[in-house]
Every structure is written in C-alpha cells, then in structure tokens.
C-alpha cells in the first residue's frame, strides 16, 4: 500500500459519482451487446483477427515463409502436425502465410473505409444541411457512382492505374464513398428538423456550432456501425481484386492472391485454397455480426425488428 492509495480511492469514488450517468449508459451498452449471441460471435472473430494481425510474423511457426521462401522438398503437403494448414507449391507453410496476411487485410480495410468516410461524410453533411442546388448536385453525382457495382468501377480504375495492392486500395476507396454520402445525408436531413436543432437555431447558434455540436455527433453512431460492417466488405473486395489478378501479387501473402494461385492446384491440393478463403469468410462474417451488434446498441431505432 502506498501513501497515495486512499487519495486515489477517494478520487475514484468521486469520479464514480460524477460520471454515474455515463457509467450507467456504458453498462447498458455492454449488457445489450452481450445479450446478443451473434454480436458476441462477431466480437470474438474481430478480436481474433486483430490479435493475429498484431502478432503477425512473430507468432507464426515459419516466419520466413511469409515473404516467399523456397522449400521444394515440402511442397504441397496436406495439413499435418507440422503444417496445420498444409503447404503451398513453394513448400511454404499456409498457416504462416494466412496469419501474416491478416496485416495486409487490416490496413487495406482501414484505409478503404477511412478514405470513404473522409470523402463521404463532409459531402453528406453538406448535402443534407445546405440543401437546395448543392444537395441536388452532390446526390446526383452519388447516384451516378452507385449505378455501377463498386467492383466493376474499381476494375476500371485499377486498369487505368495499373494493378497492385496499393492501386487496388486507391480504386476501392474512390468507389466506396457514395454509401456514406447517402447515409449521412439521410441522417442529417432527419436531425435538421428535430426540435433541439430548431431550438439551437432559435437562440442564435451559429451554423458552425449547429454543425459540430448538434449534427455531427448525432451522425456518429450510424457512421461507426456502417464503418465496422464495411471493414469486412472492403477486405472482401480487396481480396476479390487479388483473386482476379488486379490486386496484390504473389508471393505477397494476401488472401485473394493466394487463392488465385491455389485455384490452379484444385481439386487435388484443396487445402491451399480452402484456408485463405476460410479466413476471408470468418473475417467478413465477424465484422458483419459485430457491426450488427453495435447497431442494436448505438442505433436502436434503426435495428431490425
């Protein structure tokens, strides 16, 4: 026991009283989230994904295999005690490559959703709040982008930029933002006419104040929900580009690129394609369930019946 401990305890007690409301709300959030089995499955999958990405090369059994070593004596071996997921055509351990691949997927997902939100949110707020001609122009441009499936437009952009994982990410970021414009515009439109915003305007709050104090914080919940669901979908889209040969290039340990090579070794060496695909599936599923659970907590009005 140090001398400071009674002081710390007293301060904690005071904080507990001062922030009783916030603590109660946090408890409610945790309770609502934990009550849903699917949300907890999502949380576990997302946490597992993040742990694997954080560990990366330092937790895998054969770190050298991640960057494409050669061990032809051990090529295309089925799953075993030494190689849980088997080995690929270069004799590399597939478990190693799949786990190291979580890192690529993590940053790919973060950048795509981040850039999409950075472009989409300001446009959505502008469209919803300013209205009029500004809204017409922004929403019509958004509609145009939404008229072509994202992957097709991304393929067109990658073809122009040249293939590669970075260009794939750029292309997907450029086609991903319209969803955010739609979401934030709709949200802003509904909040704009809420009594508390009318009241703020009536007492003379500036536009900037209404925007930053009243509108944006209220857009936060649906934004977080959409971003967590989009993380999975963005990872899936990037892997899709890798699969068709326009994204990451082998021997980079990227899931889609691995499957595109593995495809030529089907059906005899099925494990080569099976495990990277399983990881994509579980990751996308995890972010989806997690986002769905978050929606029940943060945005109960929008959640499904």
């Amino acid at each position: 026991m140090t001398v400071a401990s009674p002081d710390v305890a007293a301060r904690l007690a005071r904080l507990r009283v001062e922030h009783a409301g916030a603590i109660r709300q946090a408890r409610l959030f945790v309770w609502t989230f934990a009550r849903s089995a699917s949300a907890m499955v999502g949380l576990v999958l997302v946490l597992a994904f993040l742990v694997l990405a954080a560990g990366g090369p330092s937790i895998v059994p054969y770190p050298d295999d991640a960057t494409g070593a050669m061990n032809l004596a051990a090529r295309l071996q089925p799953p075993s005690g030494a190689h849980w997921f088997g080995t690929d055509e270069m004799g590399n351990d597939i478990l190693t490559r799949v786990v190291v691949g979580t890192r690529t997927s993590l940053w790919v997902g973060l950048i795509i959703t981040g850039v999409a939100a950075l472009i989409g949110v300001p446009l959505g707020v502008a469209a919803g709040y300013l209205g009029g001609a500004v809204r017409q122009v922004i929403m019509r441009v958004t509609d145009v982008f939404l008229s072509v499936p994202g992957l097709v437009l991304a393929i067109a952009i990658v073809a122009a930029l040249g293939s590669g994982v970075l260009n794939g990410v750029i292309a997907l970021s450029l086609v991903w933002w319209p969803g955010y414009v739609r979401l934030i515009e709709a949200k802003t439109l509904t909040i704009k006419h809420e009594p508390f915003v009318e009241a703020a305007r009536a007492v003379g709050a500036s536009r900037r104040r209404i925007l930053f104090i009243h509108l944006l914080p209220n857009c936060f919940s649906p934004l977080i929900v959409k971003m967590s669901m989009d993380m999975g979908l963005a990872i899936l889209a990037a892997a899709s580009l890798g699969f068709i040969g326009l994204g990451a290039k082998p021997p980079a340990p990227e899931w889609g690129a691995m499957i595109s090579v593995a495809r030529t070794y089907m059906p005899t060496w099925w494990w080569y394609a099976f495990f990277p695909g399983l990881f994509i599936y579980l990751t996308v599923l995890g972010f989806n369930l997690f986002g769905d659970g978050l929606r029940d907590v943060l945005d109960p009005r929008a959640s499904r019946s």
Binding site: F145, G162, I280, R304, S305
Partner: protein
Amino acid sequence: MARFLLSRLGLTILMLAGLVLITFVISNVAPADPAALAAGPDATRDMVETVRKEYGLDRPLPEQFVRYVGGLLAGNFGRSVATGHMVAEDLARFFPATFELVSVSMTLAILLGVPLGMLAAVRRNHWLDHATRVIAVSGVALPAFWFGLLLQLLFAVQLGLVPTSGRLEVGTPPPPVLTNMYLVDALVAGQLDTFWDAFGHAVLPAIVLAFPCLASIIRVNRAEMIEVLGSDYVLAARAHGVARARVVGVLALRNAMLPTVALIGLRYGWMLGGTVLVETVFDWPGIGLYAVSSAIAADFKPIMGVTLLVGLNFMFANLLVDLAYAGLDPRLRTAP
C-alpha cells in the same frame, strides 16, 4: 403518371451522361500511354505517333470527349487494342451469356427467397427462422470466388453431379444462334439434350451468384412480412374469418412484396457486377470475364464498354422498378 415517367427518364439520361464522363476521365488519367499500348511493345516512336493520329489521341481532350460521346451515340464503343475487335460486337457476343446466368440466378433467388422469408416471418424463432438467419448473414460474407471453388470441389469433382466450368460440354455444338442464350436457343431449336447440358453448366455459377441476393431477399421479405402481419387490415381479415393461408400468402404478401420488388431490381443491376468473380471462377464467357481479361491487358475500351453497359442496365432496372412500384402501389399513380 406521364409526368412522373418523364422526370424519371430525364434523370436517367442525366445519370447516363455522368457515367460517360466518369469513364472518359478514368481512361484519360491513365499513366499508360494508350497509343504506345496499341502500337505494341516493339513499335518505334514514329509508329506510336502514327497510331496516336489514327486513333485521334493527339487531339485536345474536349474534342476527344465530343468524339467519344458521338461514337457512343452511334453505338460505337471503340476498338480493343489487344484483339482489334470492335467492343460493341464483343459486348453483343458476351452479354447474352451473362444475362442468361443472371436470369437463372435471379429466378432461383426469388423462388427460394420469397417463401423462405415468408415462412421465417410466420414461424418466428422456429428453427427455420434461425436457419434463414444463418443463410442471410453468411450470404453477404461468403467470398463468391471461394464459395464457387468449394462447390466445384464438392458437386463437380467429388460427386460428379454437374460439370466444373464453361457453358457446354466440349464437343457439344452450340445451338443455332438466335439470342446467344444457350438455354433459350436450345429450347427454340428443340434440342433438349443441349438444353440440359447448358442448364447443368449454369447450375453451380447460378447458385453462387444467387446466394448474396437470396440472403437479402430473405431478410427484407421477412422484416416486411412481420410488419404487415401486425397491421390492422390483416387483423381485420383474420377476424372476418379469411383463411390463414390466404391472409399470409395473398393479402399480406402483396404488400410485403413492394420493398422486395425494389430490392430485386437493384440486385439485378448489382448481379451484373457480381458476375465478374463468378465468371472468372467458372470460365463463363460473359462480360465479367471479358472485363477482367481486358483489365489485365490494360485494354481500356472494353472495360469502359462493360462499365457503361452495366450502368445502363442498372438504370434501366431502376426505371422498371419505379414502374412496377407505380403498378403495385396505387398511391404513386396519382402522385405529382
């Protein structure tokens, strides 16, 4: 109604113009020099310049844009630099294959999705409801290309029930060309063997393509159905002694179908894009595979052609949805 139609049509044309602009911008910010690409790797500087003049690539951008739009209006999507084929002819050849696949797929998704969504709504928290929820959640998360490989492994290789890839067995002559959709052409020509051959080839890719769509049809139909079943008129019908099957299957379904119809329209357009992956896995010679092989060769004109065609179809599908809505919801017919 006429005014509603006209304004929708005007908007569609405006959006199409926007899409044309986007494709033009994309193909002109490319770091790759299209003239050098067209002339080939061994071309001398003079040859590249000749090609540049020939394709009009030395003209200022606005002029190129006007020529591009003029060409599109005349149905000219340009020429592929890799194969020398006219893109419009290629599209006409590949699109029916994609359309056939999407149609089979959509039929499958609707035939399964609507009853499943309905059943899940009527039997809430029954095992069937949980099962459809699993389908609905995994449908979005399943990587189409991986799912396709797994189905090939199980149903084509292990069980030998259906062929692995392609549109027809090697050695089977395609049916006489009419629509280039083999299923239709074979039926018209009365070649039943060819029909079943083509159908067998379409089953696996159609399932993969239908899965995400099936998932959202189930979700939306279930949610709508639950809401409609709780409404006053349904209660009134039940109180009047209308049979439960008629209430659920006719009275409630008709109203619950509205959002599903909208979804089907949107999904139809989306599926044309989703085929990119499915066609790659199953070697299905449609516009998706065409776009991918052109993208790998950095051949722009075909990709832009596919992008425009997909966008055009999506807008057309949306227009049809609006019309269907007006047909199903009488309130819209009189709306300004």
